[in-house]
């Protein structure tokens, strides 16, 4: 907490994220209406006291849908990045630890994956699966681990020949022990930073997929599919596009600020400058 207060940008990112988390967790208590309650007598009402963010094409309260939508966006972000981090760390650790041909194979695989435009890969995969949030999280996770792999491998390569690692190895520590007790804890900083930044891009990917109709399925709401609904009415009902757009913007900004801030703060090379 103390380090956060030294960096106002990271702090504002942190506050945004905490606020969004709060909203997501307490959505049922905060929302004035059932997000899926259809009222065809009050369709496309502009923002007012009874509907803070107006109503959509089926008369549903946009504010309530936005609150519930934050759950989807956050869940997708965190779970997808969790999957990516686990896979990325595992492969990066193996590549960086064993080096040699294992490293070559894994890194060529990473290069291959990186050469495929991820969003189109996801689109192609989703077209075959039933679109649901779980599938989306898994697919985003399975296609975004390459950055983590590269970072972890680089970190491992530089730590691998340090004296304390060699000493532990000489004392007969197993490979597993070396990795889990000595190498991994010392590589945690870049992993945390990329994960936080990764959440931002996962949130964006989910919004993009929902916008294209391949994300969360009706009647569930996510920021992306509220935005799609809004596209139809953009000349008339600005509130349907503005609020989800802003929400996505602010959340992604929050993760990016926090990620960048953490990088600055946790990077030992920057420490001296700060003081």
């Amino acid at each position: 907490m103390k380090i956060l207060t030294q960096n106002p940008l990271a702090l504002s990112g942190f506050i945004i994220i905490v606020a969004v988390l709060f909203i997501a967790i307490f959505a049922p208590w905060l929302s004035p209406y059932d997000p899926n309650y259809i009222d065809i007598h009050s369709i496309l009402l502009p923002p007012s006291v009874s509907h803070f963010m107006g109503t959509d094409g089926l008369g549903r309260d946009v504010f309530s849908r936005m609150l519930y939508g934050s759950r989807i966006s956050l869940l997708v972000g965190i779970v997808a990045v969790g999957i990516a981090t686990v896979i990325g760390t595992f492969l990066g650790a193996i590549a960086g630890f064993y080096r040699g041909y294992i490293d070559s194979i894994i890194m060529r695989f990473v290069d291959t994956m990186l050469s495929i435009p991820t969003f189109f890969l996801i689109l192609a995969v989703i077209a075959f699966l039933t679109p649901s949030i779980w599938n989306i999280m898994i697919v985003i996770g399975l296609t975004s681990w390459m950055g983590v792999t590269r970072l972890v491998r680089a970190e491992f390569l530089s730590l691998r020949n340090r004296e304390y690692i060699l000493a532990a190895e000489a004392m007969g520590a197993s490979d597993f022990r070396l990795i889990s007790k000595h190498l991994l804890p010392n590589s945690l900083t870049p992993i945390i930073v990329t994960s936080v930044l990764g959440i931002a891009s996962a949130v964006l990917t989910e919004s993009g997929l929902s916008f294209l109709g391949l994300g969360v399925q009706a009647p569930q709401s996510s920021w992306g599919n509220i935005l799609t609904d809004g596209k139809e009415y953009i000349q008339f009902a600005w509130w349907l596009s503005l609020f989800p757009g802003l929400a996505i913007l602010i959340t992604v900004l929050g993760y990016n600020l926090l990620g960048e801030g953490l990088r600055d703060l946790l990077d030992p090379k920057n420490k001296n400058q700060k003081k």
């Binding site: 496309l44 000349q235 008339f236």
Partner: protein
């Protein structure tokens, strides 16, 4: 992509410049006498590929060529068959021979005579295997065609075939004297047509616009409006901006624009007139009759009672549609007026579901039969109106204890992976209808192979027989009885639930006068040759 932005930029520039200069205050109200002259500008999303409609097959092409070429017969404003270049036609007592008697002194726009030789030539072309046309099959049923004299054309069918008359109301007659030595698939004629109808081609600028001018030798008489310009604007939002800027005179709009955007802006309300007409299509929820429990008529009827169609029309179409009770356009003779849609009746739905064996035994709010909960998936394509319809249906069916999942799929995979394989529970789709009442392809039990149109697997012996009778009966009154009986069975069986028939919505500049009101069944455009633009409200027509 850049072009689009540049284009938009210019549109916006145009908008601002319009508001800078003093708005020309047209007075569109008052009574005007019809007069000739003026230019009507409309917008098309696509550019015609070819002005020979039997080759082209796209709607842009047929919209243009319909103003250039004539047919033997046509549909009048009540969608009844009426003479066009044939002044009358007779049907032999065995219903196999149709004889058309052409009007006298018909001319092509280049001055040549139009005779039954041209009709015969066109029939030859459309049935020639070398002609690349998707429309040949109806005409290949003709056993032999004859030209007894220059004003008579006779076709003899192997057996009576009722949709035959409809086919002669769609075939555009082409000039033999120009095309007899041409390869129809790649002739210059597709871009330099010579027709016989109201207009002839004046100018075609690729990717920009196409202009028709009134043809002095038109066999239909001279139209009031001298020039028709169609501008090619692919994006409907850009079209709408052009309409607002008064750069086009008419376009099709969506319910939001119709009910909310235009009425809320006084300047638009002053210069645009709004028209609605029933389109030739309806949207339905169709069940896969081969999947349990949709093979049970009581389940289908129960769902029909459980869905509130008026709510869908009000919510999704903003009230701009009608409920339907038969697969025919309301107001035409084929639509059975004695039929009414199933009313919304939750209790009746619950009663029927109980009779079908569904009960909520574990009190979770979802009905079960044999221990299995009643849950199914509605598939639809990426169409906002259909998605919203699905959400409303999902809510209503939840009220009676049916758990519905919705899945929205991109069109190509929707058709290939689900429709053609029959791998679905229920779909929300629409049917566009031809003007002939024959729907053998959609409902006959023989039409269930992959790729055929009875993909819902509907199977009813009685309906099969009526459909077979209907397509061999050429007497309209007898046909009407057959199709009314057919619609009645269909409504009872509910293999599909009719949801709505949406209106076609048009916004048109008020400078266009002479539009018939109320809109006849054939739609507002049927008398477009009688529309006129009073000279006091015309645009300044500077050559562009």
């Amino acid at each position: 992509m850049y072009f689009k932005y540049i284009f938009l930029f210019f549109v916006l520039l145009n908008l601002t410049s319009c508001s800078d200069k003093k708005e020309v205050a047209y007075n569109y109200d008052g009574t005007f006498n019809s007069e000739k002259g003026g230019t009507l500008i409309d917008a098309m999303s696509g550019e015609p590929s070819n002005l020979i409609s039997m080759i082209a097959g796209d709607s842009a092409s047929s919209a243009i060529s319909g103003n250039i070429f004539n047919k033997l017969i046509k549909y009048d404003k009540n969608l009844e068959l009426a003479p066009e270049i044939a002044e009358k036609w007779t049907i032999s007592s065995d219903q196999k021979t149709i004889t058309f008697y052409l009007k006298k002194n018909l001319k092509w726009s280049d001055g040549h005579d139009l005779t039954s030789e041209d009709v015969f030539f066109t029939w030859k072309l459309v049935t020639d295997d070398k002609t690349r046309t998707p429309y040949g099959s109806d005409y290949k049923l003709v056993d032999r065609a004859e030209v007894p004299d220059l004003h008579t054309f006779r076709v003899v069918y192997k057996k009576a075939y009722a949709p035959a008359l409809d086919s002669w109301a769609t075939l555009q007659i082409l000039p033999k004297h120009i095309l007899k030595d041409e390869d129809i698939n790649r002739t210059f004629f597709s871009r330099k047509p010579v027709g016989s109808s109201y207009y002839k081609l004046a100018q075609w600028v690729n990717g920009e616009k196409l202009t028709l001018e009134a043809s002095p030798s038109s066999v239909m008489g001279e139209p009031n409006i001298s020039n028709l310009t169609s501008r090619f604007i692919p994006d409907t939002s850009s079209q709408f901006l052009e309409l607002i800027a008064d750069n086009i005179d008419l376009m099709n709009i969506n319910p939001i624009q119709f009910a909310r955007v235009i009425p809320s802006k006084p300047d638009l309300k002053n210069k645009l007139a709004l028209y609605k007409e029933l389109g030739n299509s309806y949207t339905y929820l169709g069940f896969n009759s081969k999947h349990l429990p949709f093979n049970d008529i009581k389940v289908r009827q129960a769902i029909n009672y459980a869905i509130d169609k008026q709510e869908i029309i009000d919510g999704v179409l903003l009230g701009l549609g009608e409920p339907v009770a038969s697969p025919y356009k309301p107001g035409t003779r084929w639509s059975n007026r004695t039929l009414h849609p199933y009313p919304y009746d939750k209790n009746q739905a619950l009663k029927l579901l109980r009779e079908a064996g569904f009960n909520d035994t574990n009190h979770d709010g979802i009905l079960e039969k044999d221990g299995k909960p009643f849950t199914f998936e509605i598939l639809t394509n990426q169409n906002k109106q259909r998605e919203m319809t699905a959400v409303l249906i999902q809510r209503r069916l939840k009220d009676v204890g049916i758990d519905v999942k919705i899945r929205v799929i991109e069109w190509a995979s929707f058709v290939n992976q689900f429709i053609k394989t029959g791998d679905f529970d229920a779909v929300i789709l629409g049917w566009s209808l031809s003007l002939d009442p024959d729907q053998y392809n959609i409902w006959h039990s023989s039409q269930q192979k992959p790729g055929q149109f009875n993909f819902i697997g509907y199977n009813n012996k009685e309906v099969d027989q009526l459909l077979e009778e209907g397509r061999t009966e050429l007497n309209p009154d007898k046909r009407e009885k057959i199709y009314h009986a057919f619609s009645k069975i269909l409504l009872r069986d509910s293999p599909v639930i009719y949801l709505y028939a949406g209106y076609g919505l048009t916004a048109m500049s008020k400078r266009i006068k002479g539009i018939e009101s109320p809109t006849p069944p054939a739609g507002i455009a049927y008398n477009s040759y009688e529309w006129f633009i009073p000279s006091t409200v015309r645009r300044n027509e500077i050559a562009q």
